[in-house]
Amino acid sequence: MKRLSLLVLGFLLVLPAQLALASTTEGGEEEFNPEHDFEIGEWIPIHLGPLDLSINKAVAYLLLGTAVTIGLGLLLMRVKVGDKNDPKRRQAVGEMVYEIAQTQVAEQGLPHKAIGRWFPYVATLMLFIWVLNIISFIPLPLSNETFELFGVELPTLALYAATSSISVTLALAFMTFVFTHIEGVRHNGPVKYFKSWIPDVPKAMYPLIVPLEILGQFMRLVSLSIRLYANMLAGHMLILTFIGLIFVLGNLFIAPLVIGAATAFYLFEVVIVVSIQAFIFAALSAIYIGSAIEPEH
């Protein structure tokens, strides 16, 4: 059983590459370049003045991720299981997710009085990022390239993560950034809150320390977004690079080797990285918001 599922997984990994091969040998005009896989394209152009609100690959993945997250929440936590009070497996999974969000994320970072208000935010963040990450490892027919099957133009199956676009992660991190300072000012008042940024040092050190602390607040924004973005980008690039080696070197005999390596990285990403990154993003958001609400702790 296990071997079979591994086989299926390997097949799923190879499939997009094979289709890519088919399309390039037919056309034969462009050479293999993995950077093309991270171009988001422009499917439905929407331009409002200087704003570019086009539906592109990342937006399509975000919409899909939103739908899946809502569906998952309803399925695991809302839909009644039977009419008796017997917890089924589905409910058990829902409770496990809820418990991780509560004990590991919210209670670690948020002070007691703020959990009621901010638990929904951090739990949603965790679930949403997890779904975005996990659907990025399922080959979906959402890509810029097409291939012909029985005379019908179909989009190629491809792996792409919305979170491997820095705009997406920066927007998520920016939400946390804004909420942090709003909550800090709301709970402590502006004067006390901004004073709490300055650590206990002699007054002579202030010209040195204060700019650093202000810079540090913005570095949180950068580090929060880059951590998620680069993790997903690197994961996808690794898999793509290994499979791409077949085409770059033009040698089919290294296929077993690189497909094995790609499968190993795929499993590592799906089992560990996806969940850890979702957890970390939510936990750090909770810690930042919590430390703004009660700066002295």
């Binding site: 590991q104 680069a230 957890f279």
Partner: protein, 86 residues
């Protein structure tokens, strides 16, 4: 990046860029490797001494792991930026 492998080094500049990128990421992952080893080693020690604290420590462990691991990716992003911009 891949054209390098495919068509051999087109020019010395490209070869230098490739070496710089690989060295940057390699050295970055060296530091993160030490850090991650440290975290898991400490976690094993802590659990061996006080097994009942495992649940509480696990959250901190993964937090530390991700914070350390991110260092590699700062190197990667810096390297890619330098690679594309130069």
């Amino acid at each position: 990046m891949f054209n390098l492998l495919a068509q051999e080094a087109a020019s010395n500049v490209d070869a230098g860029k490739a070496i710089a990128l690989a060295l940057g990421i390699g050295l970055g992952s060296l530091g993160a490797g030490i850090g991650i080893g440290n975290i898991f080693g400490s976690m094993i020690q802590a659990v061996a001494r006080q097994p009942e604290l495992r649940g509480e420590l696990q959250g901190i462990q993964w937090l530390g792991f991700a914070l350390t691991e991110a260092v590699v990716f700062y190197g990667l992003i810096g390297g890619l930026l330098a690679f594309v911009l130069v």
